[in-house]
Subunit: 354 residues, 2 copies
């Protein structure tokens, strides 16, 4: 990685699976959470922009760039809820780290598994900052690919000991229950979102439908609750009833992006929100009292992927995981790109192409 | 590539060099030019946006997304003029093609060499459309990594038989002269940009300095000339004196992007320009008469990379070039991403991480 040659380290999906197996998922979640907190504390050092989204009938494809003075990062990620019917993941992602001073790409990594880890880490960092310290019970509504990561992150970083599960697809809940065996969590399967929220200190919604769904209604929300709204993350895709937002103290990652994509897309453009980095750096208050309802309207911001990419890169280097790929040609003279072809390339060769 | 599994074809820099050697550079340029023309004729079918640029002191890193109803494409590309001093290319690029209906990435390819091919193809398509048919002499100002590709594209697609060369770096010109031996082109080395433009029918500027340079001044421009301005391609980076634009008929790729990045960034926001696709599809006139000066204010648009990526993908498939990479994990149950880790991943394993 220190080479001046434009070589790129490649971490495949299998490489990152191996990395997480060796380090342990709890340590990966904790490690990414630590990076996220550290990077959110230097918020002003980053060149930030709302992600670029390409919407189609069944889903969205997004590019999420960000940079500080040394490194440029971006993630490619899709969201296609119908994919699971075809045996494909709803969310697939990969990402790149590049040198700002030369533009050379230095890391190409899978980010599907890593996105689940960083999203859970981000949710737990926000809850640790905003929820009441004594929170122990979490409703987990939406039991798909991200749910185990949320449960383990909240167990380790927030102190949750009981999860109350609900999903419109019972087989998803059964899968989650099976995966949480031996995870030192009390697991309660519920028959509705309303039942799941009963007695919960924290409510996490991580549903996938690309609609203006109303997963949570005001009657489900009690004083002092913290709501971790993860699934409402693009235009036309929300999870919370507007009245919940009206009566809550709402926190976001990056306001310009969340206004477009988050649950607050339902609210007026001047609906008050606080960016989480301000609370982490003591520039703004978080929860005001034990009775206040706090909402983390999470959509997923490029900085979290930068944090995850740097964690994965540094950990892979430590463990000797990854290969070198030659994404960029290496002409002997950088002004002589043509030279890499050799003169024979300039013959017509119509037959070879016909 | 027809698999429903999220497998991705990977074309390395060496793969694409081998592809171009086998097909022949002239055929690759002609093949990409054909795709560009075809895709520009279905302009309205594409979801278009100006590229996202991250500017730093010495350069820029850009993401260039575009999609039609079937395929999403993006290119990562940098521009760092100082790189050549460190032995790195000024421009390095790679790109991806993905399925719009699932978001699955299907192709990851080098685009450094391919960008030089597509830029030359785009320039030649524009000149073939806008320049006088009898053009035979081209000034080529800026003799860096892109210059050979421009010379060969204009020879084959426009009918240029003489190139008049100038670069502030004489070694760059010497490199270009050496590379053009046996290229069926009369080559004239000039001592200034002004000398290079003498007797030229077409003037191509492909310089790299990230400044508001004035490579061409009005005194160098005669009636009937076509100016192919390639190097002025980001904010603060221009090549033409404003008076040249004022007296010319100016054509662009995608107006919203060129207003920010092109030579017309010097002009008022309402300075009249025509998008080239309109001329190609006979929706707008091109050159009005033999005396008119036409300018193609080229900055490089994502659609050209889509055209190049589909050409490279289809040609590589035909030749059996490329490997499969596993960028995306393949859980047996797409809702059970956690399952790919195996339960052992959920142990703490602090020692392994310490």
């Amino acid at each position: 990685m220190l080479s001046r040659l434009p070589q790129t380290v490649y971490l495949s999906a299998d490489d990152v699976i191996r990395l997480v197996r060796r380090v342990g998922l709890p340590n990966c979640i904790a490690g990414v959470a630590e990076r996220i907190e550290r990077d959110f504390l230097r918020w002003s050092e980053f060149d930030k922009s709302a992600r670029v989204a390409c919407h189609s009938r069944d889903g969205v494809i997004e590019l999420m760039p960000i940079a500080d003075s040394r490194e440029f990062a971006f993630k490619y990620v899709n969201g296609h809820p119908k994919n699971t019917r075809a045996g494909l993941p709803t969310v697939m992602a990969f990402g790149v780290l590049a040198d700002v001073d030369t533009g050379a790409p230095r890391l190409l990594s899978e980010l599907t598994l890593t996105t689940a880890i960083r999203t859970a880490a981000m949710s737990a960092v926000a809850a640790r900052t905003l929820a009441r310290p004594e929170c122990r019970v979490m409703a987990l509504i939406g039991n798909g690919a991200q749910s185990e990561f949320q449960a383990i992150a909240f167990r380790d970083l927030v102190g949750i000991h009981t999860v109350r599960l609900y999903d419109v697809d019972p087989s998803a809940t059964a899968k989650l229950v099976a995966n949480l065996v031996d995870q030192r969590l009390d697991v309660v399967v519920c028959n509705s979102a309303a039942e799941a929220t009963q007695g919960a200190d924290i409510v996490t919604t991580v549903t996938a439908d690309k609609t203006n769904a109303t997963i949570l209604t005001p009657d489900m929300i009690g004083p002092g609750m913290h709501i971790n709204a993860v699934g409402g993350d693009c235009p036309g895709k929300t999870e919370l009833h507007a009245d919940i937002l009206t009566r809550s103290n709402v926190f976001v990652e990056y306001e310009p992006q969340t206004r477009i994509e988050g649950d607050i897309q339902q609210m007026a453009p001047d609906f008050p929100v606080t960016e989480l980095w301000q609370v982490l750096s003591a520039k703004a208050p978080g929860r005001k009292d034990a009775a206040e309802i706090t909402v983390f309207d999470s959509v997923g911001f490029a900085l979290e992927d930068y944090s995850a990419l740097t964690f994965i890169r540094d950990t892979a280097a430590k463990l000797g995981i990854g290969d070198i790929v030659q994404l960029i040609p290496e002409p002997a003279d950088p002004k002589n790109l043509f030279g890499v072809l050799g003169i024979e390339a300039t013959d017509a060769k119509l037959e070879a192409f016909a």
